[in-house]
C-alpha cells in the first residue's frame, strides 16, 4: 500500500515581548526569531506542548529554554551558503526517515 503523502511541517512565528499569557499560534516548528522575551508562562506552554521544534531563538531565549528543561527539538537554520537538503532537514521533514 503506498504511503500517504506527508504534510509539510507547519511553522508558527512568535514575536515581541511574551511577558503575559496570550493565545499562541501552534505549529510543528516554532520560529522564535522575533521574540524579545519569554515569560515563564511560555515555559508552561512548552510543557503542555512537548516535542515542538524550535528555531532561530536568540542566545538569551535559547539559554532560558535550555535552563528550564522544557522538551523541545532544536532546529538550526540552514546556512545560506549550502545548497540542497541537509540530513537534519530531511529528518525533520520526513519524521526521522533517511
Amino acid at each position: 500500500m503506498p504511503n500517504a503523502p506527508r504534510k509539510p511541517p507547519v511553522t508558527a512565528s512568535w514575536s515581541g515581548e511574551l511577558l503575559w499569557p496570550q493565545d499562541l499560534e501552534d505549529g510543528d516548528v516554532i520560529d522564535l526569531s522575533g521574540v524579545q522575551a519569554l515569560g515563564s508562562w511560555v515555559l508552561a506552554w512548552f510543557r503542555t506542548h512537548p516535542g515542538r521544534a524550535v528555531t532561530r531563538a536568540s542566545p538569551a531565549i535559547r539559554r532560558q529554554l535550555v535552563r528550564s528543561g522544557v522538551t523541545v527539538v532544536w532546529v538550526d537554520p540552514t546556512p545560506s551558503s549550502q545548497s540542497g537538503v541537509l540530513a537534519a532537514e530531511r529528518a525533520m521533514l520526513l519524521g526521522g526517515e533517511s
Binding site: 515581548e17 511577558l19 524579545q36 522575551a37 515569560g39 515563564s40 532560558q64
Partner: protein, 239 residues
C-alpha cells in the same frame, strides 16, 4: 560612622582604612575573624565592611554574629554567596577590586537608611524627585522615579502592569515585574528607579506552586535578590 574593616590582605586593608577615613569614618581594622571579634567587644562598630573569605572563617558568619549593617567584598563571589549575603541583610556586595568611591556611596546609603532622618525632596523638571539624605559624612543625593501599582486579580495585574511602562523602560526590569505580578493573587508593587539602580518592593503573597520557572527567571534577571526565610521574594534590584 564607626566602621570595622576586616580584610586579610594588608595593602587593601590599609588603603580602605586610609581612603574611608578621609571621608570622615572612624575606622578599625582587623585581618581575621579572631581580631575582628576582639575589636567588636571593645569598639562596638556601627557597621562592618568585610572580605568574604578570611584566613580563619567567613565574613558572612562574622556579620551574622555581630548583627550590625554590613557590606561584603570578595574576589571570588558567586551568585549563591550574594543571595546568602542578602538573606542575612547584607547592604551591598562588591566583587573586588572595589573603589573607595563605591564603598563610600554604599556606606552613605547605609547611613541614610539607618538614620531614617529628614529627606529633602526637590521636584526635577522631568517629574522625577531628587532626594537628599543627611549622612554621617555629608549628604547623599538620589534621583528617584517611583510608581506604585496594586491589583486584586490576574486581569487587574495585567492592567496595572501597563502603568509601569514609563517607569520601567528596560526589558529585563519589565520582565521581572511581569513575572512577580503573575505569581500573586493580589498585591502591590512599588518600583523605584533612582540614578542607575532600579529596585522594587513587592507586598503580596506569591503563589509558589506557579512560580518555579518564575523564580529561576528572576534569579537570572536580577543581580540582587533578597528572599525571606519562608521563601517569599521581598526585594530585588537590577543595576
Amino acid at each position: 560612622m564607626r566602621l570595622l574593616v576586616v580584610e586579610d590582605e594588608g595593602s587593601i586593608r590599609s588603603a580602605l582604612a586610609r581612603g574611608l577615613g578621609q571621608y570622615g569614618h572612624r575606622i578599625e581594622t582587623a585581618s581575621c575573624l579572631s581580631e575582628a571579634r576582639a575589636l567588636v567587644a571593645k569598639r562596638h562598630p556601627e557597621a562592618l565592611l568585610s572580605d568574604l573569605k578570611l584566613p580563619d572563617g567567613n565574613g558572612l558568619d562574622l556579620a551574622e554574629e555581630i548583627g550590625v549593617p554590613f557590606i561584603l567584598m570578595t574576589g571570588y563571589g558567586t551568585f549563591d554567596d550574594a543571595v546568602r549575603a542578602m538573606r542575612l541583610g547584607c547592604h551591598d556586595f562588591f566583587t573586588k577590586p572595589v573603589t573607595i568611591k563605591e564603598v563610600c556611596r554604599a556606606l552613605d546609603h547605609l547611613a541614610g537608611r539607618r538614620a531614617g532622618g529628614p529627606t529633602v525632596v526637590d521636584a526635577a523638571q522631568d517629574g522625577r524627585l531628587r532626594l537628599t539624605h543627611p549622612t554621617a559624612s555629608g549628604f547623599c543625593s538620589q534621583t528617584l522615579q517611583s510608581c506604585t501599582v496594586a491589583w486584586a486579580d490576574a486581569a487587574q495585574a495585567k492592567a496595572a502592569f501597563a502603568q509601569l511602562h514609563d517607569v520601567v523602560p528596560a526589558l529585563p526590569h519589565r520582565q521581572v515585574a511581569a513575572e512577580l505580578m503573575q505569581t500573586t493573587s493580589q498585591g502591590r508593587l512599588v518600583v523605584n528607579l533612582h540614578d542607575d539602580l532600579w529596585s522594587a518592593w513587592l507586598d503580596a503573597t506569591v503563589i509558589w506552586s506557579q512560580a518555579v520557572d518564575c523564580r529561576m527567571l528572576l534569579e537570572d534577571l536580577c543581580r540582587r535578590c533578597l528572599w525571606t526565610k519562608d521563601g517569599a521574594l521581598v526585594e530585588y534590584g537590577h543595576a
